[in-house]
């Protein structure tokens, strides 16, 4: 069959396909077609794929082949794209996807936990008994900053850095979101360097936080420091561990891909890791809310400790118990 005859024969169905594609691509702004027309898309597309294959094997002109190829790309795009509906998806994510994925990789969770809290607690103890050790990890100005922030005799708001004493709670919230979630994301991203970046961030942050805790406790700043951090610490510290866990998942794909090629293992683990880091981002956000609006309140330390303990239990139960019926299914 000659090319021109071929074109004349099938021109009508190609135009119909193009019309449907134009309508779908222009969305709400463009022409509207009745549903019966749009329902012809799959069968028109299948026919056109056959025509494209014929055109290619019969060596018709490149112009014709390109035209059909372009139609194929557009139709493929329309047929295989996924709708992105936020609301219901978000709830499902929080209640099901995130905790379940976390529990699926519980070993990595505990590894990240140990990598973060292990050095942290050890170094905290070291700094408690020998305060000068803090300078091995944290520089002078930062230590002075910490002392300033949590000094019980200070006349400024607890937990505020120098220069930010009079910032509003909302700005502090913004600052915490920006700062802390950024740390979590960087800890995660470091995982692609065979897990080394994540390892580095987890251990370093653990040492710094643990060391500061030990140092300030030795100074006697117990009510100010622990009262301030116990509340949001539940969400933030666990979120750091989860970010580390997500990073370690990436690293594991590169170091121990198992039966898969490294790139395949990476893609698979990255899909899981992104669920974890998204959940961690939510926890960082919650931690920022608590840190900005609850932690600085001037109420008796005892109450803060009780609420803090309650929040820790809440986080534990959320991660451990939510989405259980999905597990069994």
């Amino acid at each position: 069959m000659r090319q021109t005859q071929f074109q004349q024969l099938y021109e009508a169905s190609w135009s119909a396909l193009e019309e449907i594609l134009d309508s779908l691509e222009s969305g709400r702004n463009g022409p509207k077609l009745p549903p019966e027309s749009i329902r012809r898309l799959p069968s028109l597309y299948r026919d056109m794929c056959q025509h494209l294959a014929l055109a290619q094997s019969r060596c018709y002109s490149t112009a014709l082949i390109e035209k059909l190829h372009y139609l194929a790309l557009r139709a493929h795009h329309q047929l295989y794209k996924r709708e992105f509906r936020i609301g219901k998806r978000l709830l499902e994510f929080m209640v099901s996807d995130f905790p379940v994925t976390l529990r699926n990789h519980y070993r990595l969770f505990w590894l990240a936990f140990v990598l973060f809290f292990g050095p942290g607690i050890l170094f905290g103890a070291v700094c408690y008994f020998n305060p000068d050790m803090i300078y091995a990890v944290v520089d002078d100005s930062s230590v002075a900053q910490m002392e300033y922030m949590y000094n019980p005799d200070a006349d400024h708001q607890t937990g505020r850095q120098e220069g930010m004493e009079n910032a509003s709670r909302v700005s502090m919230f913004g600052f915490y979101v920006y700062n802390n979630t950024g740390i979590g994301f960087r800890t995660f991203a470091g995982g692609i360097l065979a897990g080394l970046g994540t390892l580095f961030f987890l251990v370093l942050n653990g040492l710094v936080i643990g060391g500061i805790a030990g140092y300030l406790t030795e100074l006697g700043y117990v009510d100010t420091f622990w009262g301030f951090v116990i509340g949001h610490g539940a969400f933030e510290l666990v979120a750091i561990v989860i970010s580390g866990m997500a990073g370690l998942l990436l690293g594991k794909a590169i170091i121990a891909p198992g039966n898969l090629r490294r790139i395949e293992a990476l893609k698979r683990n990255a899909g899981q890791a992104v669920i974890l880091i998204s959940g961690a981002a939510g926890m960082f956000f919650t931690a920022a809310l608590i840190e900005a609006f609850w932690s600085p309140l001037a109420i008796p330390a005892a109450i803060k400790f009780i609420v803090g303990a309650f929040l820790w239990l809440l986080v534990f139960f959320y991660l451990f118990l939510t989405g259980r019926n999905r597990d069994a299914a």
Binding site: Q5, H76, K81, S171, F185, A189
Partner: protein, 228 residues
């Protein structure tokens, strides 16, 4: 030994059994797109700072959250709604999964969160090395996400062959017939002298040179395409 084609096309086989060709974008174009996006982002930061500065302290809080969102999720938003950030769209690029489908939220998040690593040690060093070593110009974030940055396909204009049909010599292979029809359809897009230059290559086939050669080739093409 036939030389290998120097082609950046990457083929995807669809469930319908056809092969789709996509052309991934190289580091230079992507770098330029990134520059444009950075400028847009800086403009947005400045604009937001000016507007929210009016609201005082609360404004600063909102500004910080906005800066956080812009820094990490500016590309994600555009990739999910339009398929590519404004910088990439300016160069005609689009972000897709490696099977040709539009990018989803998981892949978009992965490729954008891993930007921090691609950016190391300085100005996308790791990302650049990765793109140069990868067959499909993927940076580290793209590899983990299974995504590609490809040029949005755009159809080209081709002429309709209007000449009188002349029967070509026998024994032309299908690929050669295709080449003749292609030549005829391209005449509107190339200059007259270039057309003559190309036709002169086939002087042995047509037995003519110059404009007469061109006319004869167009006649052959017409016969091959339509038969009369």
């Amino acid at each position: 030994m036939t030389p290998q084609k120097l082609d950046t096309a990457c083929t995807i086989e669809t469930p319908e059994g056809i092969r789709l060709e996509l052309y991934p974008a190289g580091p230079v174009a992507r770098g330029a797109a990134w520059l444009i996006d950075s400028l847009i982002r800086i403009g947005l930061y400045i604009g937001l700072a000016l507007v929210l500065g009016v609201l005082g302290a609360t404004g600063t809080g909102i500004l910080l959250v906005a800066v956080f969102l812009l820094e990490w999720f500016y590309p994600v938003y555009f990739e999910l709604t339009k398929g590519a950030t404004p910088g990439k769209s300016a160069f005609g690029m689009i972000v897709v999964h490696s099977n040709g489908t539009p990018i989803g939220w998981q892949a978009s998040m992965i490729r954008n969160l891993l930007r921090t690593v691609d950016f190391l040690p300085l100005l996308y060093g790791f990302g650049l090395v990765s793109m140069l070593l990868n067959k499909r110009f993927q940076r580290l974030g793209d590899m983990a996400a299974g995504s590609l940055v490809v040029y949005k396909p755009a159809p080209r204009e081709f002429a309709h062959i209007e000449s009188v049909a002349i029967t070509p010599p026998a024994g032309l292979l299908p690929r050669e017939q295709q080449a003749l029809i292609n030549f005829a359809e391209r005449t509107t897009r190339i200059s007259e002298s270039r057309t003559v230059e190309l036709a002169d290559h086939l002087a042995s086939l047509t037995g003519e040179k110059g404009r007469q050669g061109v006319e004869k080739l167009l006649g052959y093409a017409r016969w091959l395409a339509s038969g009369r």
